[in-house]
Every structure is written in structure tokens, then in C-alpha cells.
């Protein structure tokens, strides 16, 4: 039997699909996504779109399948900086194995080690969800906004690294994993039914609260390794936050009629004392932070005072970010658990 695949006649129509040559130039940051979005290839609201896996700018196949529902409006998912944020993510990847001075860890007083490990246990939990959430939304993003997808894929990698670095910290110095977080309000991140809802709750609120804590890492971390973990993780979180703030800004600018809807998501989330992965009021987290901030169990009350300072930073920075995004009126309707800290 003759099985060789037959060689069909040449078609070559694909050769005629290309426009006039228009090369793009690398900059001192190499050849970036921004550079290749030139020449009429930038994301546009009015470009012809479909729900196939086609990425923006490719010629459409007449017989292409739809792949499932995707957002058909740029504003639903877009953030102007997502191209630059993706490129930054690629340039600033780090290794939890090699970039943390694990070798410098030394035995700590038991209660301090336990407090660090409790915090690391909570964060190893929180960061796990932070990767699932962007993964869940990838199929909803149209190929017309594929840079948003690329950014979320880089976030998935970042969050994997965060999950692993906090797990490593818990196990690197003889402490181990302590109590599971309870009532951390993580489900609400997975429960979001809209991209903007998810982004406001995760990128802006939850990751914002976490970021304010990481930024106090110099005070929290008892060792050079701990301080460095917080610093490196904060670098990543600042991208995730920036995406959320810029997305919210874009949504409010393009679809101002969504303002009340967005407030409503926040109303609900703030009922859970700020919910999401920033919930530092859960006793094991609150108490371990107080021990670390105070400098030992004997200085617990001093630690509580500093903890309240952290809380204030979280709330103030949260309000500031919302203000930058154009939701400055959030200040007037902040949830009761957060208002004492807005001053």
C-alpha cells in the first residue's frame, strides 16, 4: 500500500498577506513589546476582532474556530503599562535558590523563629492562590489584548517564586510550617466573576496590603535573608499592583459608568476587615508580626503599636492607590474595619 502523504499543489496565498516592509528597531532595553507594537500594531478598541486564538495583527483564517467567550472590549482587561510591566518582569526575574543569602541564616531565639515561620506559612498559602487567579482569567482575554495575557503569565511565575521562597524560609532554619491561616478571605479572589472585579480585589487591594507589609520588611525580618526576601518579593508585587492600578484607571476613564459597581466590590471586600491576602488581623499573623516588629515576645505590646503602624500604612497606601486610579472618593465610604487607620 502506498502511504506517503500526497503532496498537494502549491497554494502560496499566505505569501501575499504581508504589508509593506516596516522593520522595528531595538532600543537600549533590547527589542521590547512596545517597539513591536508600532506600525499600526498597537492594541486598538476598533480593530476587527473575533473569539479565535488569533493574536492581534495576524490575518484571520476564514475557518478559524472560536475558542470560547473572551472580552470583546479593550477596556475590560487593558492596562496601558502592561507591555512595559511584562518586559520588566522578564528582566527582573530572580531565583529564590540563589539570590537569597540562605547561608547566612543563624539560629534565632525560638519564639522569633516561630514567628518568622508563622508569617512564612501564611504567605506560602496566600501566594499559592495569587498564581491560580491569573491562570483562571487567561482564557477570557482576547488575543487582541495578548499583552495582558503575557503579563498575567509573568505574574504566575512571580507568584510561584513567592510560594516557594516562603516555603523555603519556613524550612531553612529549623522552624517548619506552623498554623494554617483561617479566614484569610482568599476565596473572594477566586470568586470574582469579572476581570476588573478580580483585578481590583487581587492586584489593588490584596496585593496592595501585602506590598505595604513587604515594604516594612526591614523592620519585620530578623535576618539579612528575611529582609532580602521581602525586598525581592516587593519588587515583583509592585508590578502586580501597578497593573491593577493602571487597569482600574483605564476602566474608570473609558467606562465611568462602572464606578458604583467597582465601589460595590470594594464595599463587600472591606467588610472582611480588608480581606484577601492582606488580612493581617488573623491572630497567628497578627501575633507573629507583633513579636517580629517589637523585637521579641517580651516587647509584644511595642510590637502591637508597630503593627498598628503597619495597618495604617496599608490603609493609607490603599487609599492613595485608589486615588491615583481615579477612585479617590473611596475615602468617604471606607469599610468600618479600615476607617480608624485612614487618618
Amino acid at each position: 500500500m502506498s502511504a506517503t502523504p500526497e503532496t498537494p499543489a502549491l497554494d502560496l496565498s499566505w505569501l501575499d498577506l504581508f504589508d509593506e516592509p516596516a522593520a522595528v528597531e531595538p532600543s537600549d532595553r533590547g527589542l521590547t513589546l512596545e517597539a513591536i507594537a508600532a506600525n499600526g500594531l498597537a492594541a486598538r478598541e476598533d480593530a476587527p476582532r473575533d473569539m479565535t486564538p488569533r493574536l492581534r495583527g495576524a490575518s484571520a483564517r476564514a475557518n478559524a474556530h472560536r475558542q470560547g467567550l473572551t472580552y470583546q472590549t479593550k477596556a475590560d482587561v487593558w492596562a496601558d503599562q502592561c507591555l512595559a510591566l511584562y518586559e520588566e518582569a522578564v528582566q527582573r526575574q530572580w531565583s529564590s535558590a540563589r539570590d537569597i543569602p540562605w547561608g547566612e541564616l543563624e539560629p534565632l531565639p525560638d519564639e522569633t523563629e516561630r514567628a518568622v515561620c508563622q508569617l512564612a506559612t501564611m504567605l506560602a498559602e496566600v501566594e499559592f492562590i495569587a498564581g491560580d487567579v491569573p491562570g483562571q482569567w487567561l482564557p477570557s482575554i482576547s488575543g487582541d489584548e495578548f499583552e495582558v495575557g503575557l503579563f498575567l503569565m509573568s505574574q504566575i511565575m512571580d507568584e510561584a517564586r513567592h510560594t516557594d521562597v516562603f516555603r523555603k524560609r519556613a524550612l531553612a532554619n529549623g522552624g517548619g510550617l506552623l498554623a494554617q491561616g483561617a479566614g484569610l478571605g482568599l476565596r473572594n479572589l477566586l470568586d470574582a466573576k469579572d476581570f476588573t472585579e478580580m483585578s481590583v480585589l487581587m492586584h489593588v487591594q490584596a496585593e496592595g496590603f501585602v506590598q505595604s507589609m513587604f515594604r516594612m520588611g526591614e523592620l519585620i525580618g530578623p535576618t539579612a535573608a528575611d529582609k532580602r526576601i521581602f525586598r525581592m518579593a516587593a519588587q515583583d508585587e509592585s508590578r502586580h499592583l501597578a497593573f491593577g492600578v493602571m487597569h482600574l484607571k483605564h476602566v474608570l476613564a473609558e467606562t465611568p459608568e462602572r464606578r458604583e459597581e467597582i465601589h460595590h466590590y470594594l464595599d463587600r471586600a472591606e467588610e472582611r476587615s480588608g480581606g484577601g491576602s492582606g488580612d493581617v488581623t488573623f491572630p497567628p499573623v497578627f501575633e507573629s508580626l507583633a513579636i517580629l516588629l517589637g523585637g521579641g515576645r517580651d516587647h509584644f505590646d511595642e510590637g502591637v503599636a508597630k503593627f498598628l503602624l503597619l495597618r495604617r500604612r496599608q490603609v493609607r497606601e490603599y487609599l492613595h492607590r485608589l486615588d491615583v486610579a481615579g477612585l479617590g472618593d473611596r475615602r468617604e465610604r471606607l469599610g468600618p474595619a479600615l476607617t480608624p487607620f485612614a487618618a
Binding site: M1, S2, A3, P8, L10, W14, F18, P21, V24, P26, G30, L31, T32, L33, I36, L41, T52, P53, L55, A58, S59, A64, Q67, V90, Q91, Q93, A97, W102, C117, E125, F128, G131, V133, G135, Q136, G143, F146, G149, L152, M153, I156, M157, A160, R161, T163, D164, R167, G176, L177, Q180, A182, L186, L190, P283, E302, A305, L308, L309, R311, A343
Partner: protein, 398 residues
């Protein structure tokens, strides 16, 4: 005493300046707060409301029951290889390294920590059986991916690109358009499965995160190559194969289905240097092949573990493989898939006849690699290989 009184007066003055309630400091002392608490609150410059929240109620001593959580106290993870640092494999120590065959916790509990029973919602994970998705090397593959990371913007010689004959440039661009979409679509499909995987298999999720990120960079790098040298984007990739991955109803179906494409892609990038017209493309293909080799190792190990754990699911795998084989073979016949490769392998439009022959040989090696990968996983497919692919490995008897 006078010194204490002076200190107290100074504290009251600072409190007034911060807008604290009159008498708050005295009430705090009555509640049992010491100088460190009050001093700490003043140093932190807490506003009135915040200070009241803290100091205007009886001091409740910390609970600290979490400190009693049982841990493997004293078990320290240390790097096995100083060069590699502290890896995920290194922290698989004591009970923390035990990955259960069946994980039963529906919450987001970090494996190895002390459960807060009955107080946390079901997070909706669906993958609780290790052999569904696990492979023994996932922790190592994850760290390898991090060590082997690269950046499309800066690790490829974009400035070295030189103008190519128009038909060649367009063939490259058509190939890049297709590959960019395929990589992106695969990352999307895998991303959708992340929320299904429970914390029992955290190392697997870390690895899949690295795969998704690799594929993102492939999508990015191929697109950049299409746009870097005056060609542009061509026709979108055919959609049959990618659609089938999105249709998978379970992780094992997805993995089996993708096994076909993953094998073919790795074999393709392994020898795509033959298509390259410059160093940039050679580097790009080699980097893509290196990333895909990790994915393939995972695929082979996973399938082997799966078949061992679920021998009754063996025959069923043929269904998913067959579905992917049919779709891949159909796409291989698509002019916008086949012709750019033939053109590049033949060195231009004039050489397309030789190019077609070279492409047939490449396709044969891709199918052989696929069958060899299955065989490495302990799965014999050759006798049941779909005729559309069999045609490539069993040339006509003449």
C-alpha cells in the same frame, strides 16, 4: 518618682499633640499597658482613633497557641549543591517532603502546616490524586527552568538581523506567526488548570507556572522575530489542534492530548536550526528546544506514573492521542503550515521540491520522536498510530 512623673507628663504632651483622647494614657496604665506599649504607640505616631483602638481596652495577653503548632522543629534544609543554592528539592525534608498519593484537604493549606479544622471553605480544587498530574522530577525541573531563564528582548541579537530575500523573510514570518499563537494558546490552556491543583502537589504547580512563563516568552519571542526584520505577521495558525486542548475535560486527557504536540514541537525545534537564516534564529530555536525539553521530560514521567497508578486507564489514552494525531496531521497539510517550511528547507521558492522532500523527512523524525517518547513512558502506540501520521513513518513501498 519625680523622674517618672516628668516622663508621664512628657508622654501626655506628646499624646495631646497627636490628638489622642484626654486621659487615654492614664486609662491605658490602668488597663495594664506598660511603658513600652504606650511609648511604642507614641513613637509610631498613632492617630487618636488608632491609639484608642489599641490602649482603651483591657490588655488581653497574646494567645500564642499557634506557637504550639507541631512542626519538625530542628529539621533544617540545606543546599545539596552550593552552586544551585537552596532548591525546592532541598526543602523536601522530613515530613515536608512527603507528597501523598491522595491529598484530602480542600482548603489552601500549605502542605505540612497545621490545619485549622472546620473553619475554612472548600477552595474548589479538583486534583487530589497525585498520579493524575505529578511527575517525580517536577521540583528539579522547576529550578532548572529558573536557572535556564532567558529574555527575548535582550538575549537575542536583534541588531544582527540583515535583510533577507522577500520570500524567505515571509516564510520565516509565517512560521513565527503560527508558533507565537501556538505557544500562547498552550499557556492559556495550562493556566486554566492551575486553580484545579490542590496544595498537596505544590511543587507541580510551581513547575507548571514555569512552563506557562516559558510559553509566554516563546509567544513573545516568535512575534518579535516576525516583526523585527520587515516581514510582519502572516496568517493565523490553524485552530483544530489548540481547540482540542481547550476541550479536555480532565487533566489526564489534556496531558495525553498535548503529549502529541509537545513531542512534535520539541523534535521540530531540536532540528529547526536547519531552517535558520542567521544566528538569532538558531539561538531562538535552541532556547525554545531547551525549554520544551523540560516540558517533555515532565510529560514522559507523568504518563509513566499515571499508567502505573491507573492501569485501567491505559486503553483510554489512545482516544486522546488519536484525536490529537488526526488534528495535527490535518494541520501539517495546511498550506500556510507546510509551505513556509518547505520554502525554508529548500532555500527559497525555487527549491520547494527539495524542500518538500526535506520536510517529509523532518515530519518522519517528528513522528518517530513522538512514538519514542510514548515508548519511554511505557506506552506502545506504534501499532495503533493513526494512518495520517503513519504515512510519514512508513513511506510507500516502490
Amino acid at each position: 518618682m519625680p523622674a517618672d512623673a516628668a516622663l508621664l507628663e512628657a508622654a501626655r504632651a506628646r499624646a495631646r499633640a497627636l490628638g489622642w483622647d484626654d486621659g487615654l494614657i492614664d486609662r491605658a496604665l490602668e488597663h495594664g499597658y506598660g511603658a513600652d506599649a504606650i511609648g511604642g504607640a507614641l513613637d509610631a505616631k498613632l492617630a487618636g482613633k488608632q491609639a484608642s483602638l489599641f490602649l482603651d481596652r483591657p490588655r488581653i495577653p497574646p494567645d500564642l497557641t499557634w506557637m504550639q503548632s507541631p512542626t519538625e522543629w530542628g529539621v533544617r534544609a540545606t543546599p545539596a549543591d552550593a552552586e544551585h543554592g537552596l532548591t525546592v528539592a532541598d526543602i523536601m525534608v522530613g515530613s515536608y517532603g512527603e507528597v501523598p498519593d491522595l491529598w484530602t484537604d480542600r482548603t489552601e493549606i500549605a502542605r505540612g502546616s497545621h490545619p485549622a479544622e472546620g473553619t475554612i471553605e472548600d477552595m474548589g480544587y479538583t486534583i487530589f490524586e497525585k498520579a493524575i498530574a505529578w511527575a517525580p522530577s517536577v521540583a528539579d525541573l522547576y529550578e532548572e527552568a529558573i536557572r535556564e531563564r532567558w529574555a527575548a528582548a535582550t538575549d537575542l541579537g536583534w541588531r544582527s538581523l540583515e535583510a533577507l530575500p522577500e520570500d524567505i523573510e515571509r516564510a520565516i514570518c509565517q512560521l513565527m506567526t503560527e508558533q507565537s499563537e501556538r505557544a500562547y494558546a498552550q499557556a492559556v490552556v495550562l493556566g486554566r488548570w492551575l486553580p484545579e491543583i490542590s496544595y498537596g502537589f505544590v511543587e507541580l504547580k510551581l513547575f507548571l507556572g514555569s512552563v506557562i512563563y516559558d510559553l509566554a516568552r516563546h509567544a513573545e519571542a516568535f512575534r518579535k522575530r516576525a516583526l523585527a526584520n520587515g516581514g510582519g505577521l502572516g496568517l493565523q495558525a490553524p485552530t483544530d489542534l489548540v481547540r482540542g486542548a481547550a476541550e479536555a475535560r480532565s487533566f489526564p486527557e489534556l496531558a495525553a492530548y498535548l503529549f502529541v504536540q509537545d513531542s512534535a514541537m520539541l523534535a521540530f525545534f531540536d532540528e529547526a536550526g536547519a531552517l535558520a537564516r542567521n544566528q538569532l534564529e538558531r539561538d531562538l530555536y535552541a532556547l525554545a528546544a531547551r525549554d520544551r525539553a523540560r516540558l517533555m521530560r515532565y510529560q514522559i514521567e507523568r504518563l509513566a506514573s499515571y499508567l502505573e497508578a491507573y492501569p485501567d486507564r491505559r486503553v483510554e489514552q489512545h482516544l486522546y492521542l488519536r484525536k490529537a494525531e488526526i488534528r495535527m496531521a490535518r494541520e501539517w497539510r495546511d498550506p500556510a503550515v507546510r509551505e513556509p517550511l518547505a520554502l525554508l528547507l529548500g532555500g527559497g521558492r525555487d527549491g520547494m521540491a527539495q524542500g518538500e522532500a526535506a520536510l517529509l523527512a523532518m515530519r518522519r523524525r517528528q513522528v518517530e520522536a513522538y512514538l519514542a517518547n510514548l515508548a519511554a513512558a511505557g506506552f506502545e502506540r506504534a501499532p495503533r498510530l493513526h494512518s495520517a501520521l503513519r504515512a510519514y513513518v512508513e513511506p510507500a513501498a516502490d
